[in-house]
Symmetry: C2
Subunit: 280 residues, 2 copies
């Protein structure tokens, strides 16, 4: 048992999966849930994702050795700073946010003595939201990125690393900025592209879609508020990724306009090589 | 039994699945395969997709009441015209091509008397290729689009419709031009977009991908030659679809640049509405 008690703030898909995994895998004893919607918290208790709950953050962090903040990304920094005022000395914070640099910047130098934040991003989740889609195995064999800085206490990093590893995930450590740049291309860009492909499709043509459309647009079913926040928090890197993508799509357009079959085959073969390296 | 004997030209994923389905569902007695690669044809026999084979089209169509052309789209028109010279009177042709207008134009007015072509596009398949991925249930509950013209014999349409329905598919009838315009958006655009998203991703970032990237880029694993041919055969409609997509992505870029959170949420919500209408 790594922690006798942990608090999870925000019990959506990621938060509830953390609770389920922490309990199923013996990583935490008691799991406290904190949220704004009592009905959702009640449901998370019924699902076994949390053991008790409250809507008050200050009270929710009392007695916990680790607080995992799983709110939308634009509220993570503020939640950590607020919770840190009330938690016990030695308490650790981590999070599940899809962006890192803004959160790290918001928290840096503002935590009380003896309280540490080790930023994390589990690369799991889906277009589904809510505790009812939570799964105890959501993190198994998935990568969780940790983005500690030079100022983060190494013991805190080790304990938070053990926590995420305890949930089943494989750890990768990188700087917040490198994380945001990479994820802009590997996660945020695909979301924008999927949404743009979905939105140009008239409803009357939906019966003429097949697996290709379904796969390519699947993440467009994600929560608009959550994703708007992610894009805004990682604005610069996402704009750069979109520009890179648009340039490549423009290459495609020019090859097609000029009827350059050999060029199109090369362009497609390069994409296939990347995709094949990933596996199915 | 709709046909005592049929010929399938091209025994890749679609052709072999047609053979498997036609035999499993009692739609055809004997299935002849025609191709260029004896090893692949041998394999298709072992898999039960075809009963006999040859590499000579003229001999392969002898004795068949239906010829199903499943070659790459840029060879379908020529294959039909060549096969039609050798087949028996009353023989029907259909195809599995992802584009229709160019094929219809290539064949129109050039078939011998008593030979009819009923163009078809089964909306099935995947990024996988080859007879070894063929499945007898590939067409079950999938849409097959038929694009006969005013000049196509109604009895021929009825018999070819019965064939595709016999394989398990649901039929939609539309003009070749309407088909190509719709499929440019529902199939060809997603492929181009998936490939562009894959190709901008450096190999060292692939470990930082998750389900969103996998889904959005999946079809980029498709065969470059097959897809280059599809894009070229449907050039005008694909260019129009890419232009529409780029305009929407440009809206996204502007909303993000100006930090318009409410606008981003609306843009994403519109995409979610389209995607949710489709189901998972």
């Amino acid at each position: 048992m790594l922690f006798d008690q942990i608090t999870i703030v925000g019990v959506g898909l990621i938060g509830s999966s953390i609770g389920l995994a922490a309990k199923a895998r013996g990583v935490a004893g008691h799991v406290v849930g904190v949220g704004r919607d009592r009905a959702k918290l009640d449901r998370a208790v019924q699902l076994g994702a949390i053991d008790s709950f409250g809507t008050d953050l200050a009270r929710g962090v009392v007695g916990s050795g680790l607080v995992v903040v799983c709110t939308p990304v634009d509220r993570i920094g503020g939640t950590i700073l607020e919770g840190a005022k009330e938690c016990r000395r030695g308490c650790l914070f981590t999070d599940g946010g899809s962006t890192k640099a803004n959160i790290v910047a918001a928290v840096a130098g503002r935590l009380p003595p003896g309280v540490e934040f080790v930023p994390a991003h589990p690369l799991a989740g889906s277009e589904k939201t809510g505790a009812e889609h939570g799964r105890a195995d959501l993190f198994v064999n998935r990568v969780t990125v940790l983005t500690p800085t030079a100022r983060t206490d190494p013991d805190a990093v080790a304990r938070v690393a053990a926590f995420w590893r305890g949930l089943g995930s494989q750890l990768v450590t990188m700087s917040p900025e490198d994380h945001d740049r990479a994820l802009a291309t590997t996660s945020h860009l695909p979301h924008a592209v999927a949404a743009a492909a979905a939105v140009v499709t008239p409803a009357e043509w939906l019966p003429l879609t097949a697996g290709g459309f379904r796969d390519t647009t699947r993440v467009a079913g994600g929560d608009p508020d959550l994703w708007a926040a992610i894009f805004l928090e990682n604005r610069g890197a996402v704009l750069a990724a979109v520009a890179g993508f648009s340039a490549r799509l423009d290459d495609f357009r020019r090859l097609l306009e000029t009827g350059d079959g050999a060029g199109l085959v090369r362009w497609l073969a390069e994409a296939k090589q990347v995709r094949d390296a990933l596996g199915t």
